[in-house]
Amino acid sequence: MDNKQREALAERVLGLSTADQTEVTIGTESADLTRFTHEEIHQNVARADTGVSVRAIVGLRTGTAATNLLDEESLRATVDRALAIAHLAPEDPELAPLPSGGPTQVPDGAFVKATADASPQLRADMADAIFKVAESNAFWCAGFARTQSAGFTIANSNGARASFDGTDAGINVKMNASDSTGYGQAYSPDATALNARSVAETAAGKAKNSAQPRGVEPGEWTVIMEPAAFGEFFAYLGQHFSAQSVDEGSSFLSDGLDTSYFGENLTVTDDYSNSLAPSMPFDFEGQPKKRLTLIDAGVAKTFVTDSYWAKKLNRENTGHALPAPNAYGPQAIDLVVKPGTKSTEQLISETKRGLLISRFWYIRTVDQKKAIVTGMTRDGTFLIENGKVTGGVRNMRFNQSIIAALGKCEFSNAPQRTGDYWFSLVVPAAKIEGFTFSSGTQF
């Protein structure tokens, strides 16, 4: 279903509602993924669906209902169900009117037809190229090649109208040697821009260079996180930029804005138009997204809102709503960390003793307000001695406050896209002093 068909469907559903205010969203997705292990494809999947969601508001009461049944009777039943739920819901005195929208500009490169049209053969060719790198190194590999396209249209009774089409492609490779592993990844809206062999060679190089890993003592280390690792780590700060978290007291920003929480090297924006991760220029209520500087040279400047939290806190609606119903509040889902001036190689060469980290695994919050998280290194962790990478080390568990870690940090000059399609990050490699590891492993 293209955007014109979605817009026509949205108008048709909107016309079925007798609520005081109505919002209709249409989401389409076509997602294909080829997953492999031991040089065989073991999962090779494709799915396609179109969903319709209706938010009905009667006075100060709200109900939502959703369906993927697109016949007239089912659409009418979904509208009626949303309306019936709204009539039964208690009043919310702080309910905000639906936004009236506004002009938006879809960033260049968000939709690439070659990705939308990608065949199973394209992904099989990518997998085969990766297999050959594994076989030439006598490793085994696991990973995926995926292509997807998504469309989203919103229309509401207060005049908001917006549509977006986007594509995404990704390759993820883990190379497995006898006592070491290595990781590589690449993401782009354009599947043809991905080089499967290059990603596989990066992963194979890490596996090769981390062979016979040494054990090192836990404790405080200087670490250099490559973008894949830093993105996973930094993502756990994302929730703190939500107005809801700030208001309820669980965000570090609850202690106030215009305060220096981080080192001067850290500047963070929320920017849907970043060329590495171009995404939807409006939120899931149809409100145009603001491009925001959340952290400026270490100083917290603002947080994100949606219509509800903008009204409740008497702030501007920044256009960061999630799909209704949403109990999580608004979210910053296009985070960008400003790069530094040095290459990753230069950051390594300036490190007397430290660890180079390719990737993390299973990061979880230990203490929400202090932003303490724990997690494991994986798939390529290296010792740096006197400015050189001297070999692999066994994996370790860390316990670390993200806020404290970013108090003394510097960044590489080469940002990369990481993260999922609907929650992407653009981050450089990060060098952090005094990063705390609490235990190790035997692998």
């Binding site: 065989e40 999962q43 297999f131």
Partner: protein, 483 residues
């Protein structure tokens, strides 16, 4: 055209295009959620999704395609797509990978329910949550009160070219509470009945059993008390874990590593591999002699109880850990065949859109013979912890660190003062071998997990780990807070 006819058409199309075997799941999924937050209804939603997912086997390679298009043209295209995908995989296959299931069934199954949720007026559901959530607010320090109910209904029919036709109606229900307290520079959370609520298969009776309103005030008071509680100490202690935390421990340190697809490297690039290697089968002393962990996908009220899995294999029981020894895995048809066994029906898909894969189902730690209070006897200097707050484990499922919401000091067999931010850490086999007491069936609960993530594309599974509280000796505690 009926769906039986459409399914027959799809299977026929797949066969004509070269599939040596094909199966198809048609599903109608309904999800209802109500969540109240600080006196308002934050979520009141009702979503229905209908579609079908189809597997085709060509030259030992699988293809899967899913669609919500129920026209004859749409069904033909989806069947053709599944075969096309399988052929693309077969073209680069190094060896034959998949095979058809060993047999077919014609049968039906429905979750037993006592009270149909559809008979409970929406207004009554909302009123129950608003009243329970209001009782959480024991002081202004309760910044957020939340209460929620989830109701899921899945009606599905499985068809295969071997002649299977299996019709199932699955009902799953859950509810819970959370109080978030803010003050003294602290943020502390308490949830009930478990850290994510109480989730089981069944109807409205599951919500009634949870007794949200009866426990809300206590939960609010505990959250507030944690703001001024002492920090959990660091060091080595004997610990007693509440039942829902034992459930989480089973889930992360037994359920996931015992997935045979993970053992075989199928999850290596994402959720990792497993220390429970095939060479360790019937040899590894995973836990102490009192530890037996059993799959039972027929268990009444088990969150993952079904008649048949999503490959069309009939549910049953089998052991993963027996008297402390590793004796089995969670298996699919393809993985079981590689170790000379048969599937134990542990294959699930999140919904029609997703390919079936091995999932933890009902995985239960059999109860011991000690009354709950008996766990405290003989503990000179220990800590009792309840309700999971954080969880992390390495990609071999060995090195873990878990945090709980609340704890109490245990001195000379008695529960003492309240402790905040409790954490504990260890290595999986050493930890389970330190288990020296498990509470009896009086405190054994079918704890459900409604949000288990696995696979790419990520699928959310609904699992159960039935458990009672248990005691573990000489465990590292206080990690992450200076320990």
């Amino acid at each position: 055209m009926s769906f039986d006819d459409l399914a027959a058409r799809a299977l026929d199309t797949a066969s004509k295009r070269g599939a040596e075997y094909a199966d198809l799941r048609f599903e109608v999924v309904r999800a209802e959620r109500i969540e109240t937050r600080n006196g308002i209804v934050a979520t009141l939603s009702d979503a229905t999704s209908r579609g079908y997912g189809m597997r085709a086997l060509v030259g030992g390679a699988w293809g899967f395609a899913a669609s919500s298009d129920l026209t004859q043209t749409g069904v033909d295209a989806t069947a053709a797509r599944a075969v096309e995908i399988a052929k693309a995989g077969a073209a680069i296959a190094r060896h034959r990978f998949g095979a058809p299931p060993p047999r077919a069934y014609v049968d039906s199954f429905a979750t037993p329910i006592v009270r149909d949720p559809d008979g409970v007026p929406l207004g009554d559901r909302v009123a129950l949550l608003l009243a329970a959530e209001k009782a959480l607010h024991v002081s202004p320090k309760i910044s957020v009160g939340r209460a929620w109910i989830d109701l899921w209904r899945t009606d599905k029919t499985f068809y295969s070219t071997l002649g299977s036709r299996i019709e199932q109606s699955i009902r799953q229900t859950g509810s819970g509470l959370e109080a978030l307290a803010v003050g003294n520079g602290e943020v502390q959370s308490r949830t009930f009945p478990g850290d994510i609520g109480l989730y089981k298969s069944g109807g409205w009776e599951i919500v009634e059993e949870a007794q949200l309103a009866q426990n809300a005030q206590r939960i609010g008071e505990e959250a507030q008390s944690l703001l001024t509680a002492e920090q959990c100490p660091s060091g080595t202690r004997d610990i007693i874990l509440g039942g829902s935390q034992v459930s989480l421990q089973i889930h992360e340190s037994c359920g996931h590593p015992a997935e045979l697809d993970r053992v075989m490297g199928w999850e290596a690039n994402f959720s990792g591999v497993s220390f429970l290697e095939i060479a360790q089968l019937d040899k590894l002393k995973y836990g102490s002699d009192i530890v037996t962990i059993r799959i039972d996908n027929t268990l009444p009220q088990g969150m993952a109880t079904v008649g048949y899995d999503d490959e069309g294999t009939k549910s049953g029981t089998s052991d993963i850990i027996r008297d402390g020894m590793l004796v089995g895995y969670e298996m699919s048809n393809d993985t079981a065949r590689t170790i000379g066994r048969q599937s134990n029906a542990c294959v699930r898909a999140q919904s029609w859109e997703f390919v079936p894969m091995i999932r933890m189902c009902n995985l239960n730690l059999l109860p011991g013979d000690v009354p709950f209070d008996g766990l405290f006897e003989g503990v000179k200097d220990g800590i009792y912890m309840e309700s999971n707050r954080s969880w992390s484990i390495d990609d071999h499922r060995l090195n873990f660190q878990f945090g709980c919401e609340i704890a109490w000091e245990v001195k000379n067999g008695k529960r003492g003062k309240l402790l905040k931010n409790p954490t504990y850490a260890g290595m999986t086999p050493q930890f389970w071998n330190s288990c020296d007491a498990i509470a009896d069936e009086q405190s054994w609960v079918a704890w459900g997990t409604p949000n288990c993530g696995k696979g790419e594309p990520m699928q959310t599974g609904r699992t159960a780990q039935c458990a009672s509280p248990a005691r573990f000796r000489n465990v590292q505690v206080g990690v992450g807070y200076g320990g």
